[in-house]
């Protein structure tokens, strides 16, 4: 076998994993930390991608527009998340499984709205010129854009980790989720914590959307293809475990890529899913686990 046959899937897979990780990162907050099963997360990703498109309409130089689009997408998707939290989710923290169903409804509406607002065949988002080109890795011409996805994911992960670790917020989020009443009576402004967490989690989906818009189409359907894999990544990593999410994202990406290399694109999807399902059967709590003694 040529080295290409190993290097190419490994590098491609890492980039694919990075995108999955980006999509999953926000979920690891809203799902992993807050316990909200947001099936509209994919649509927030779509919102991020459309935001990138709108930024490009204003700043036509794509060299500049993508760097500008990243924070814009973060804020726009974050605001949508905030809106969702304030209007719906806040009433449902005690019924997490039901958040799944409600947000399915929200996702449907957002998709249809996107179909109404934007041209049905989707909108173009252009890659900046500085991402043209490839890097020669052991003879394999590795697309720069893939490197960009990885760097972007790394930056987001680092920022999130730092935020959770060095600000008191990480503790507050976990405390709020674990026992809302107790947190509230411990002086934690749980509503602010909820909103901020949801804002950041959804905002990260927006950032993932910008990355996704450089890979595929920007249209009403784009979010749907990320939602289940992203949830699987969070679950496989161990709910609430950032390092688990990172590892799982990368592993699923690489597995997908190798499977696609050895079999077909369709079969790769199936195999990757089965892999995660079997893994979760073996380790139901994911890669990293927290156990408590609480019974019921």
């Amino acid at each position: 076998m040529h080295v290409d046959a190993l290097i190419a899937p490994l590098l491609n897979g890492s980039a694919q994993g990075a995108l999955l990780l980006l999509a999953a990162l926000g979920l690891s907050l809203t799902f992993g930390q807050m316990g909200v099963i947001n099936m509209a997360h994919g649509e927030f990703l779509m919102i991020g991608a459309f935001a990138a498109y709108l930024v490009q309409q204003v700043i036509s130089a794509s060299n500049l527009s993508i760097p500008v689009a990243l924070p814009v997408a973060f804020v726009v998707a974050g605001l949508f998340g905030l809106l969702l939290e304030v209007t719906i989710i806040q009433w449902m923290y005690r019924r997490p499984l039901d958040t799944l169903l409600v947000t399915v409804g929200v996702g449907l509406i957002l998709q249809q709205a996107a179909l109404h607002i934007f041209p049905s065949q989707g909108v173009p988002v252009e890659k900046p010129g500085w991402l043209d080109g490839q890097l020669n890795i052991l003879g394999y011409q590795w697309p720069l854009r893939q490197l960009f996805t990885i760097v972007l994911a790394a930056v987001c992960v680092a920022a999130l980790a730092a935020w959770l670790k060095y600000s008191s917020f990480g503790r507050r989020i976990r405390a709020t989720v674990h026992n809302r009443d107790l947190a509230e009576t411990s002086g934690i402004p749980t509503r602010t914590v909820d909103r901020l967490t949801f804002f950041v989690g959804s905002g990260l989906a927006g950032v993932a959307g910008v990355a996704a818009s450089l890979i595929g189409g920007t249209n009403s359907q784009m979010g749907a293809q990320y939602i289940i894999p992203a949830f699987l990544v969070v679950a496989a990593g161990g709910i609430g475990q950032l390092k688990g999410t990172i590892l799982a994202g990368w592993a699923v990406g690489v597995a997908l890529s190798f499977f696609a290399y050895w079999t077909t694109g369709s079969l790769a999807q199936v195999l990757a899913f089965i892999l995660v399902i079997v893994f979760l059967q073996l380790r139901p709590q994911g890669l990293f686990t927290v156990r408590t003694r609480s019974l019921v």
Binding site: S168, R171, R174, H178, N179, E184, T185, S186
Partner: protein, 227 residues
């Protein structure tokens, strides 16, 4: 300091408290049988449930509709019934959580760890793995860290070993002497009344007796509660 006036409250359509009035006092003990509504009253005091009628007044200010965390910011602290702590956080994180943003937070934590040695020993352990009594100690420590003006305690010594019960009882007395107000639910009537300036006996959500605390009250209260 804290006055509850003519409170009606409950859960959903269930009414639990019927026109309950609790006077203010340095240490106020709330006594009563199982299910009398004691915990409900304390939850109402900290703001976890809102009364359908009546007023909650703190230092002359109506706080009836203030959220719990705002009440904490005004110097109230609450130890709920049942050894509650944040199970996914370590013991230390449980304490940091409330110490965050307070001046001398580190020293406050150390002080509580000195009071409850088990917390120091198991600082890095997830609170969910602690024993019941250890969790209860943690809950009390969390409340004390905030250096409250008003401490609300719901059966604080439940599940705690006798030596530490004594320690906690001493602490409560000491805090009261330092001028910190305490609203206390306690099944150890003897202690509760000794510490209390005033007491209230609840029965099925009605106040059946109130009075001055002190040892002398013990027998009258017991008589009242036995009925």
């Amino acid at each position: 300091m804290l006055e509850l006036t003519d409170i009606e409250a409950g859960y959903g359509r269930t009414r639990v408290l019927h026109g309950v009035t609790v006077p203010s006092g340095k240490v106020v003990a709330v006594l009563g049988h199982n299910g009398a509504g004691k915990s409900t009253l304390l939850r109402l005091a900290i703001g976890l449930i809102k009364p359908s009628k009546g007023r909650v007044v703190l230092d002359g200010e109506d706080i009836t509709s203030l959220a719990p965390n705002r009440r904490v910011a005004r110097g109230m602290a609450y130890v709920p019934q049942g050894q509650q702590s944040f199970g996914q956080l370590t013991t230390l994180e449980n304490l940091q959580l409330v110490a965050d943003g307070r001046r001398g937070g580190k020293a406050l934590i150390d002080a509580q760890m000195a009071r409850f040695p088990a917390l120091k020993q198991f600082a890095a352990r997830k609170a969910g793995l602690l024993s019941g009594g250890q969790r209860q100690q943690l809950a009390i420590a969390r409340a004390l860290i905030t250096e409250p003006k008003l401490l609300i305690l719901d059966e604080p010594t439940e599940g705690i070993q006798p030596t530490i019960v004594a320690e906690i009882e001493q602490t409560i007395m000491q805090l009261a002497e330092e001028g910190i107000n305490v609203l206390l639910v306690e099944q150890h009537i003897g202690f509760a009344l000794e510490a209390a300036e005033r007491y209230v006996v609840l029965s099925s959500g009605h106040v059946t007796q109130t009075g001055e605390g002190g040892k002398a009250a013990t027998s009258t209260v017991r008589a009242a509660m036995a009925i």
